[in-house]
């Protein structure tokens, strides 16, 4: 389960069919998610606490504990979820595994890739992160790797595109 960030572990192109080399996500994603959690729920806690305390009496301000509880519960949950995300490049397909309670593992053969997309929203960009999304001819294929370093995302995109072209197979 616990696989640290090892940027170059997946570079071995001729990876045999044996145990796949799993790569975890960089810690930047966890930092970003935790910061967002703290900022939003912290504001909510302070906001409800102040509003209810001033308008309805100090007893009502206890409701502010609710978002605080969510924050305290969410902190380790985000960590668990972040640790569960990992991917591996095998010789002929890409594996993506994720989820803690509802686990999902996806296998996408390189030859089936129609399109590889690298996206980065404003918040992600601020934290220096990009997501890679793979599309096949099946819309149900849900192969997304969030929160990668832009350099790693580009390396992955180029490698996937190259392998996809070499092994191309349409419908």
């Amino acid at each position: 389960m616990e696989t640290g960030t090892s940027e170059n572990a997946g570079q071995t192109a001729g990876q045999a069919a044996g145990e796949p080399v799993w790569i975890g996500l960089p810690p930047g994603l966890l930092r970003m998610r935790r910061l967002l959690l703290v900022v939003w729920l912290g504001l909510l806690t302070v906001g409800t606490g102040l509003l209810l305390g001033l308008l309805a009496g100090p007893g009502w301000a206890a409701f502010a504990l609710l978002p605080l509880a969510v924050l305290l519960w969410g902190w380790p949950m985000l960590g668990r979820n972040w640790r569960s995300w990992r991917y591996a490049e095998r010789a002929d397909d890409l594996l993506i595994s994720r989820g803690v309670l509802w686990q999902e593992e996806t296998v996408v053969p390189y030859g089936r890739m129609q399109l590889v997309e690298v996206t980065s929203g404003p918040v992600e960009r601020h934290f220096g992160l990009s997501s890679v999304q793979l599309h096949t001819a099946a819309a149900a294929t849900d192969a997304r790797i969030p929160g990668l370093d832009p350099a790693e995302a580009e390396r992955l995109r180029d490698r996937l595109t190259e392998l996809g072209e070499a092994r191309s197979a349409g419908l």
Binding site: Q103, G170, L171
Partner: protein
Amino acid sequence: MEAVKDVRDEPGPVAEEASAPEAAPVPGEVSEVAAGPTERRLHPVTPLRRAWAPVAVIAGWAVHDPDQAQRQLTRLTTMTLTAVLVAAVLGAALYGFLSWWFTHFAVTDTELRIRTGLVFRRTAHIRLERLQAVDVTQPLLARVAGVAKLKLDVVGTDKKDELAYLGQEEARVLRAELLARAAGFAPETAHEVGEAPVQRLLHVPAGVLAVSLVLTGATWGTLAAALVVPPLLWFATHSVWTVLATALPLLGAAGASSVGRFVGEYDWTVGESPDGLRIDHGLLDRTHETVPPGRVQTVRIVEPLLWRRRGWVRVELDVAGSSNSVLVPVAPREVADAVIARVLPGVTVPTSLARPPRRAGWCVPFWWRGYGLAVTDTVFVARHGLLRRSIALVPHAKVQSVRLEQGPWQRHKGLADVRVDTGANKTVTARLRDATEAAELLYGQADRSRTGRREARPDRWMA
């Protein structure tokens, strides 16, 4: 992606390379000029199909708001009424004529080009080697007029990319030519190849079709709803409009699921030709579908409860980019299996499917017995349903991605689901397999799909 389409705001290079677009030849006439594609127009009857549009709009408004419509009507004199009507019909006729005049199509060596649009120009380039299916349909009125609609299914095409209408004979010739070009015949001879000979595989007699519909639960369900719900509503509300508003859709649904299906599936014929599968059906609207070899993504064998005693099944198929899904509306199991063996060459439908382990009953009580899985050299087979059994077959070569899913309760019981995604946007699921078996299946299926693709036939099946 599959459909190579191109939307342009100005005529662009396509219009320029067309040979004399203003002096387009008379529709129906195939001019054989070797240099450059010849642009053609649709059948001159085409503008009429849009003439009813303003009438429909007025009718829709009147139905939507009947009281106001009556008030407005009494206020108008006969004179203005006729004037408005004439203007609307003339406007529609002009619109129909212009849209016909500005629609051209041309067949080149590699693609079918459809150029439309008066204000916003749009050119669709449909690549023939990506062709998934060809449909020639004739609605009732089109049959009277002797015209037909030709539709090419390519992933990503929409309703605009059909050729409506062509002359009956022209549509047949064009279909043969498109299939010949898609198959990879030499471009010079493509329009001389002609129709491939058809060998009939199956014909559904009208009697069997009628009995099968009588034995379908959906027919009786909608009929019962249409008979029971409106009277109940009448007792509850005493409002004519509410009753009508619910009764009409219900009656429509009942009609569609019984009479409508009979009319649509009447005279169902499945044939085989070198160009692929031919499916012809319809009593009033005739449809002729052609599915070239190697285009079928999924085949499903559906067995409703009431059909089981007679040993009948319904066979459905999925082709990427096509909305047609029925292959055989009703047939005995052996006959259906024989047809499937032609659709998916080298595939035999496995007779015994492995059930999930007994502890799957803790996840899905009772219904777990309906699930089943079998993997052969060529196909991935999954079954579900207890009363209405449905077996889905996916050739390994058509698998786009494989997923393993496991919820917390399933993990507690050591079970997992395996999902196989195909290009027709259908996902076939083998539910509640043993967790270790599922993990092996996940990697094994990825390997099989890769080797399966290598042995598959080329897109240009005659090349």
